[in-house]
Every structure is written in structure tokens, then in C-alpha cells.
């Protein structure tokens, strides 16, 4: 079973991202379960949501404590939330960011992927300039990192479920899928400064 934890802020579409991904994985033949760690959060507050994917029926109905992968929709969360908490060694951390963060050292032992979902969302006019809706771009990035679900399944999930500008959202997901930077495993040999300049060029 695959367990993925999503960190975002209220209003970014974090919970919707897990639902759409659940539908996309289901479309690709997997059994799925997604749910938010529900608080009384409002717009801007940190939110957490989970996605479980398996070949067979999922019985466990608890929060996710030892995720296989972690997705961060807002990099400012890294200042207040231990996003790697419980993450399995070698698991992916997908960050929505426009530059390689200076704190990659903290993610030693994990694999890191970077996607500039905010820029992509703005490019396709998703949300507003101050409140871009980054979830569909992040979904595209995650699909590339994991090698699943298929872009077709993501497009279908968006088309079926997103009432506001589904085609622009699909394009954002496709662009993020193509653009995501896979830094891979962060270890002693990782030259993070080189990676940073490399990313800024793209």
C-alpha cells in the first residue's frame, strides 16, 4: 500500500488534490482512500490530507503516520511544520517552489522533487495573483515523480470534477508533469548549490 501525505494551506485546493488523485488512481485500476485531517482551519491555515492507494481493498481507517511520500503545496509551511515527520527513508518530498530551497540538507535520506506550481497556476490564470490555486499543477508533478497515475487519468478526473476552467487545469497539470525537477536522493554527494542554479535556469 502507498500512503501519501499532503501539506497545504486552506484555500489552495489541498483536499481537492487528494480527491482528484484518488479518482485518477481509481481510473487506473487501483483501490483508493482519501481524506483530510480535518480541523477547524480556515483560509491560509495549514491543512493536511491523505491518500492511500493499493491493489486490494484498504481496511485501515486511521490517519497516515509513516507516509511513503510527502507533497508540500506551500513551501512557507516548512518553517512551522515538520513535513518529513514519519516519512519512510528514501521517500519522495515534492515541493511547490520556484527555487531549490537552502534547507535541502534537512531532507538527507529522502528524494526531493521540485515543481513551480505557483508560476504554472498563474500562467494559466488559476485562482488569483495573491491566491493561486496550485493543486492541479502539483498533481501533474506528483504523477511524474511516482510514474503514476497516468496523465490521461488525471485529465479525466479534472474534466469530470472541476467545474471552473477544467481545460486550463489540465494544461497546468500537463505542464507541471513535463517541468518537474527530480533532484533524487539527498545524500553527501548532493551538490545542492549546483542544483539550485540549474533549476533557476529552467
Amino acid at each position: 500500500m502507498l500512503e501519501i501525505r499532503f501539506h497545504g494551506r486552506g484555500g489552495q485546493g489541498t483536499v481537492v488534490a487528494t480527491i482528484l488523485l484518488a479518482k485518477a488512481f481509481f481510473q487506473d485500476g487501483y483501490y483508493v482512500q482519501s481524506f483530510p485531517l480535518f480541523g477547524v482551519e480556515r483560509r491560509g491555515a495549514p491543512v493536511e490530507a491523505y491518500l492511500r492507494v493499493d491493489r486490494g481493498k484498504i481496511l485501515v481507517r486511521t490517519n497516515v503516520y509513516t507516509p511513503d511520500h510527502v507533497v508540500v503545496l506551500d513551501p512557507t509551511l516548512l518553517e512551522g511544520v515538520n513535513i518529513a515527520f514519519g516519512l519512510k527513508p528514501g521517500g519522495w518530498i515534492l515541493l511547490n517552489t520556484h527555487s531549490t530551497p537552502s534547507y535541502l540538507e534537512a531532507f538527507r535520506g529522502y528524494q526531493v522533487g521540485l515543481v513551480d506550481a505557483t508560476r504554472i497556476a498563474l500562467e494559466y490564470g488559476l485562482g488569483t495573483r495573491t491566491q493561486p490555486i496550485v493543486n492541479t499543477a502539483v498533481m501533474g508533478g506528483l504523477a511524474r515523480v511516482l510514474g503514476m497515475p497516468t496523465v490521461d487519468a488525471i485529465s479525466k478526473a479534472i474534466r469530470d470534477e472541476v467545474s471552473s476552467r477544467p481545460e486550463a487545469n489540465i494544461k497546468a497539470a500537463e505542464k507541471a508533469h513535463a517541468e518537474v525537477t527530480l533532484l533524487g536522493l539527498i545524500d553527501d554527494r548532493s551538490n545542492t548549490s549546483w542544483r539550485r542554479s540549474n533549476l533557476e535556469d529552467t
Partner: protein
Amino acid sequence: MQQVLEGSHAVSEAVRLARVQVISAYPITPQTHIMERLSEYCADGNMGARFLRVESEHSALAALIGASTSGVRTFTATSSQGLALMHELLHWASGARLPIVMAEVNRAMAPGWNIWADQTDSLAQRDTGWIQLYCEEGQEVLDTTIQSYRLAESVNLPVMVILDAFFLSHTFEPVDVPEQESVDRFLPPYQPKFQLDPENPCAFNQLAPPDVYMEMRYNIQSAMDYALDRFEEVEEEYFSIFGRRYQAVEPVQCEDAEIILVTSGTVTSTSRQVLADLRARGEKVGLLKVKLFRPFPVSLIRRLVSPASKVAVIDRNFSFGASGIFAQEVRAALCNLPGHPPVFGYVAGLGGRDVTTAIIEDIYWRTKNAGIPEQESFWVGISEVSHAIGHC
């Protein structure tokens, strides 16, 4: 067709398929998504129901009591404080023998203010004469809601379909949503046995003096007894069309079990995983899921747990001054059975605290390593607390 559906929307789909005619509700988290979807269905013409927005939960049920008395199929949903506010009318609905169906999303009672999963709200209404059905997954929620109309209308008692806050109400998972034609075959239009009728005017629920009141109560209990049998028949008929059934009490690997865990709601689902893991390590553990809580299936439970050497009940609820409520009921069911296994009571997951696989496994080992229960209730995973405030 199978689709990825939220637990709350599994209820909404079932209510749409049941062709409910009057819906009344007052918003409260975490029930809200059920009513949001139904109000959309009523607004866009996908459902022909009359949707009543009222000023309180008390009024929500009062409106349905009126509607149901006029002979139509009705639905409401609530949680926690909202259910508590309905208390007076819960008695009225069952006393008036109205087949109202309600979805109850288990949420903790305040204060402290808490919107998360806890069964104390619905279990505090156990003496109101409502049939209570506890569900563990989205598919079961959908199927149970449809079945509830058949059950309610055949025994003339109201039914509460109960699901855990968030762990079920806000969880998306694959659910098979049946075709309308199949549901119509299972659930024909409501034929009231009595109703308000201008052509045949009469009054309902008048003064019932001592010479008739007791018989009226006895009738309600007879209907509850009948509901035990009817539940099985309804399930059988549902199975013949849809291929799914759940049982009032579902035993999982109980035949050779030395310790049987008794669970309800979503804790059951997680316990199934723990059971599989423990069995793989050679532990003789069984699981008994209690779905039907009212009427309480006493003889079934006696028969299913009596071969075990110990019973461990997990309660996500508590009756202050007593114990977990499922544990009370299981103890009461067993007490007249000579040589029955000891019943260990565990309280876990109050106010939405997670009941993890580790907690359930810990409950198993505690039970295995104990001789007899040393206390009525063991509170699992609780921090040190002082009772001093009680003495202020």
C-alpha cells in the same frame, strides 16, 4: 456503477435513490455534506423532494413528524448537539410509530467544543425507540440507508443510520451506486398503514391514560423484536438484487478464537487489518462487528462470543459513572449465560482521537495477558490526568 465517493455523499445518493419525498435539516458539521448534496439534487431537479430549511434541529424533526404522519417518505441528518436538541422529538417519532430515517454522523458532545468522531451522541439516544445501525464504510452507508426505509416502513419505527465523523463521513473510497430501476425493485413506494387524510379525518397521538399507555409501549418493544427478524429478511432481499449483505452482528474468524474483539463503526474496518496481521502470527483472535445496536441482538451475541475465553469490547463512547456503552450491553447480554467469558472494556478514540492499528493490537495483548478484568473500563492511551477539578 463504482465511483470514488465521499461517505456523506453515499448517504445522499441513497436518499435520492430511495425517492424520499420530504427532507428537512438544520446545518451542523460534520453532517453538512449530506444535506449540501441533497439540496443541490432538489434544486436542480434530480430529486423531486420538498426540501425544508428550518430554524433548528428540533424543528427539523418536528417537520418530518408532520410530513411522515401525512404518509410520505422522509429524511433528515444531524450530529452531536443537533441530535441532543432533537431528543424530545426522537421519543415522539418512535411513539407515533413513524418510519423516519435519519443519518447521524457521530460527533463528540461539547464542551470542550469538538467536531470529531465519538459515538456518545447517538448512544445517549439509545432509549428513544429508534432502530440504530452503525456503519464502517461508504458502501455500507449507502446500502444501509436504502435498506432502512424497508425496515422502518415494515415495523413502523424510525431508523438512525450512523457513521463516524471524518473517518467515514469525509473519506472518499470506491462505492457502487446502484441503478434507480434496481432500487425501485427493492424499495417500492411507501404505503402508510395510517395517515392524515382530509377524506377520513382523525386525530393522532392523543391522551393515552394508564389503561392504554403500557400496551402502546409493549407494542413498540414487539416491533423492536420483529425488527430483529425483519432486518435479516430485508438483508436477504437486498442481497438477492445487489449481492451485498452485512448482518446484524458479523463474526470474523470467531469459531476458534480465544479472544474476540467487539467493535462498531470504522474501528471495525481497522480491526479487520489487525485481525489479519495477528492471525498471520498465529494468534487465535476473532472479531465481532456490532452493526445493529437497537434492537440489540442478544441471542446472536451470546451464541457467537460464548465459545471464546475472553471478550474485549472497544468503545468510542462513554457513559459517565458507568462504562463504555457497547461493553455494558455485551455484559448484560451475557450475564444470564452460565460460565460466560469475562468482558474487558476498553475506551478509545473519544473526541476523534485516532484508534490506530497499534492501539487495537495493544488492546489484544492486554486482554491476552490479563487474567480477569481488573476494572470495568480501561482508558487506552490516556495521559496522566488529575481528578481534582471534580472536587472544586
